[in-house]
Subunit: 338 residues, 4 copies
Amino acid sequence: MIITMKKNAPEQEIQNLVQSIEDKGVKVTMIQGANYNVFGIVGDTTVVDDRLITANPYVDNVKRIAAPYKKANRLFHPLDSVIDVDGVKVGGNEKIVIIGGPCSVEGEESTMQIAKEVKEAGAMMLRGGAYKPRTSPYSFQGMGIEGLKCLYKAKLAYNMPIVSELMSENKVDEFEEYVDLIQVGARNMQNFDLLKALGKCSKPILLKRGLSNTMEEWIMAAEYIMAGGNENVIMCERGIRTFETYTRNTLDLSVIPIIKSKTHLPIVIDPSHATGKRDLVESMALAAIAAGADGLMLEVHENPECAWSDGAQTITPAALKTLIEKGRKIANVIGREM
Amino acid sequence: MIITMKKNAPEQEIQNLVQSIEDKGVKVTMIQGANYNVFGIVGDTTVVDDRLITANPYVDNVKRIAAPYKKANRLFHPLDSVIDVDGVKVGGNEKIVIIGGPCSVEGEESTMQIAKEVKEAGAMMLRGGAYKPRTSPYSFQGMGIEGLKCLYKAKLAYNMPIVSELMSENKVDEFEEYVDLIQVGARNMQNFDLLKALGKCSKPILLKRGLSNTMEEWIMAAEYIMAGGNENVIMCERGIRTFETYTRNTLDLSVIPIIKSKTHLPIVIDPSHATGKRDLVESMALAAIAAGADGLMLEVHENPECAWSDGAQTITPAALKTLIEKGRKIANVIGREM
Amino acid sequence: MIITMKKNAPEQEIQNLVQSIEDKGVKVTMIQGANYNVFGIVGDTTVVDDRLITANPYVDNVKRIAAPYKKANRLFHPLDSVIDVDGVKVGGNEKIVIIGGPCSVEGEESTMQIAKEVKEAGAMMLRGGAYKPRTSPYSFQGMGIEGLKCLYKAKLAYNMPIVSELMSENKVDEFEEYVDLIQVGARNMQNFDLLKALGKCSKPILLKRGLSNTMEEWIMAAEYIMAGGNENVIMCERGIRTFETYTRNTLDLSVIPIIKSKTHLPIVIDPSHATGKRDLVESMALAAIAAGADGLMLEVHENPECAWSDGAQTITPAALKTLIEKGRKIANVIGREM
Amino acid sequence: MIITMKKNAPEQEIQNLVQSIEDKGVKVTMIQGANYNVFGIVGDTTVVDDRLITANPYVDNVKRIAAPYKKANRLFHPLDSVIDVDGVKVGGNEKIVIIGGPCSVEGEESTMQIAKEVKEAGAMMLRGGAYKPRTSPYSFQGMGIEGLKCLYKAKLAYNMPIVSELMSENKVDEFEEYVDLIQVGARNMQNFDLLKALGKCSKPILLKRGLSNTMEEWIMAAEYIMAGGNENVIMCERGIRTFETYTRNTLDLSVIPIIKSKTHLPIVIDPSHATGKRDLVESMALAAIAAGADGLMLEVHENPECAWSDGAQTITPAALKTLIEKGRKIANVIGREM
């Protein structure tokens, strides 16, 4: 951490600040410049709150050198984490995992049908929304626990782990019972009480990146869950908000090499939400595989135009099959299997 | 709502779509263009889910004309809503309200002291954080319920309504007991389960705008609370995320005239979080008053450099006093009191 | 184009507006709503200036349905445009083209050396900056015309068309003489006088997307050049500005399928500027190929750490060779050659 | 400037880098951390190109402490610069200046009329666009030199300095002849060849902030002009691009105190372009005055709905008069005149 003091900082104030920082058990080194005095702080700077130091009226600015995360940091965990989702392994050199299913669960029959079809197309996990984060209170809010039960039946029938989004701390028990990989949605990425609750949960977490969050903030959200005791976190990019209007969001594929170098966690890409348009899903999915993604999450529905939500970005089981066939060949080029 | 169909849409598909929309009780009118067929939908379009229509493969795009909110909409409630916060009125032609206090509650003694001082400086409500949304799990997370109790004692002593941030549905009862104006923080603006819980709450809500949210999304968050039954919502702008690095966030003062024309709700400005720098607080506060704000929320602390959080953006009680004196004169110029 | 009038618009004002629009040779249709009157305009709406209509105080808003571009529009030119750059064809089903070379031209000897090496690695065109857009007036501004001459000599020696950035209308003649594909940089994407000058130029244009521009604005910049008479435009994505700090910019690969569906122009990806980090270049380049790019532009230098500019994002000729080998296999999977 | 080296950097590489930096005449100090080696650079770091250092493969990152600008830097020029625009003084404690006039010049008669009216309302300079930066090549592009001549006649008649936008280096002579304050538009803020040309120009420059540029980039654009020899630069904020759709741009008033603390240059606010809506102009103009702006630039037209461009954000002379009356009172509160 580097602290720059204002030119006019009195000697006594500088000494007080240095003392207060060294009291945290870190070492302070000074650089005297023409217009600034600069301090370097050496040691475990995650214990030093940079915003506290910024409050000192003689401090010009504070810059962090070391990453603010420890548990998620590749520097301290050089090996890839492989997350086990009820038998399906994600990350490292494991097979690239395909997670498919409808945006919203729409009933038992349709869930069984789509589970069968995505499995036949090559998907390894089943996704479906039972609780839906909707911008409008007047839109369909999801089937709730009945939706989770539909997914659970499909799991028993087709032996596919279930992925579904949790929106409330109060539903953690429900999800522990029916869901294998608990999704935190983009809008809840910094719902810190939810992250803390998930830190005490036994199931792995699929952590979506917030709509306008940096990768560092996203990793810090993973750090919240990991610091709470649950180290089984899979990162999921679903597009970020930009000025572009031709797509729903902008898919940021550079997260793939970066999450892999900064952390030891697996990274999954969701091209459905990222683009918002089914015509763009295949090309972005293949690009994600070429860039080294550990998995793909895709919205799939028998009749996308009849889906209860997000049909515009939903592909058919037949399109999923084609995508997987091409994807396998690309995976082979970069030394992965799918 | 305007629906544009693709050029090649078959007649039968067009008829099916029109029928499905008219089944919702709205009227459909058609415009035949050279390259497009366009439909206008007339009636209460809040019942029509535009994303559902977009899913139709023959639909090119859907644009909403009428606002998606009803309860918050000025069109249907021409008079200003004035929100009563335990006796202090906010909005309409009421006095511009000043909410002051520390970022974090730091104990009983300091809370009593700061309450006394902000009251003497001219503030009408006391703010303080008991539960803190922190980016890092290793940062101070707030005093919790003990913090709320400190605020409550200050309220009894100085007769100032209390404003504090709620981060979890599970704490609503606690806040009902100790807090007069419940703040929803920027990161929870789209925590829909929290919004639903607050819809059933008896206390007024101070709803902060999300870091990267549009005004429409913000009003829709208010609509969630109002649709749940709690119509006492005060909007609070606290700066949005932009590319700028010289400020913590970018204060968007255009929200003042816009929230007042699109909705009937009061609008409060928080220049402390918006700028992140105490040197900018006074000028932005005066600007907010000149633009017509119904209130200001300001971080105030005896010794900002010793504040447990956000000291860099905190002003002293003396600075608050000066700000209020200047602010009163500006308020008079535009026909308001403070 | 859809025009929504305010509720209180007097009948006479509505009639005047309709008349003034129909005078442009388009047809106006009306939809009467409960709270709004809405007009649809049918015909060639590129002649109607939507900002002019918005100025009418009785107009609530104006939304464009048809794209505002004609020359670049796929709707009116269903076949892919293939651009001939001094014998190298770009677009359609032509081979994916690799453009390699240093960020800045650094002298004749080094240019000849790097040209030899990128050619051997498999590149088909040589890039190099002679005029450099630098944020600081105190940074190296490029070799100017001497740089162009170095590139030209390398072209003669290795038979590779030359790509270089033009920053000023006053240098068009120079570029006509020495350069085969004239690059418009991101910061000049809306330098309309430069675009107009290039509309009269005989050489093809490589048009980079502006740092914060939408695809529609980017296509409109191409439209400026094409409307001026030069229809040989290649689009080039080089990353957009987002809140992310771990990368220099955010590469938006969704432009590939979208530019191909909205326009008939070829699309080239520049992963060097998009990421700003050499470790990310290969994965993003392979992703671009998988997504269907018509070409790649890459910064290549013998000793990236000694490059006069942008060394951090520059790869070695050896790395280029490896990238091309993998890229060829991915190209084959999606039915392209490279 | 602070340089962080990677953990594995060999001793020899570190020494080479230190040597190469010290060769620039600055001093290097080292801080040894557990996971990083960090260097501080002391002296005139504007001569050190941080991107060059970043290219070193053993460098993790480079952070600048001192501002990259010198000529514009308040640190080296503690007194306010007051810019003389043909007799009207801008900045320091001078009167807050009002610049009014139409978006586009529309002919001699209308220019004379509007000049008369804005002068009567209290404006001190006349603005008008003769060359218009339009997104579409099919939109009205301005009257060109004939427009400048209209403005010049109005100047002679009403004794008001003229402000107009220059889009091309090739027109500098024309502007030297007819215009008193040459405007650089938002889209040309980083048109570096234009900035260099203006550095040699005798007239003061009104430099608009780019749509997505940081204040540091904006000040660096001023630095380009000043480094070229023309130190008469007035900064102009006209709103930045954000995700908001209810306004054309988002007005960032925090630029006022920041530009005044970081630089010694005057700052003018353009609420017309910033908001895009005439109903928002007055409140944002008053807010700008309260925040300490040195001037306002406003689009004014007799019949906004008939203006040839940007009528939606244009106010009438009567509205200008009311705005100025209120503005004067607010100016007095903060100790300024208008």
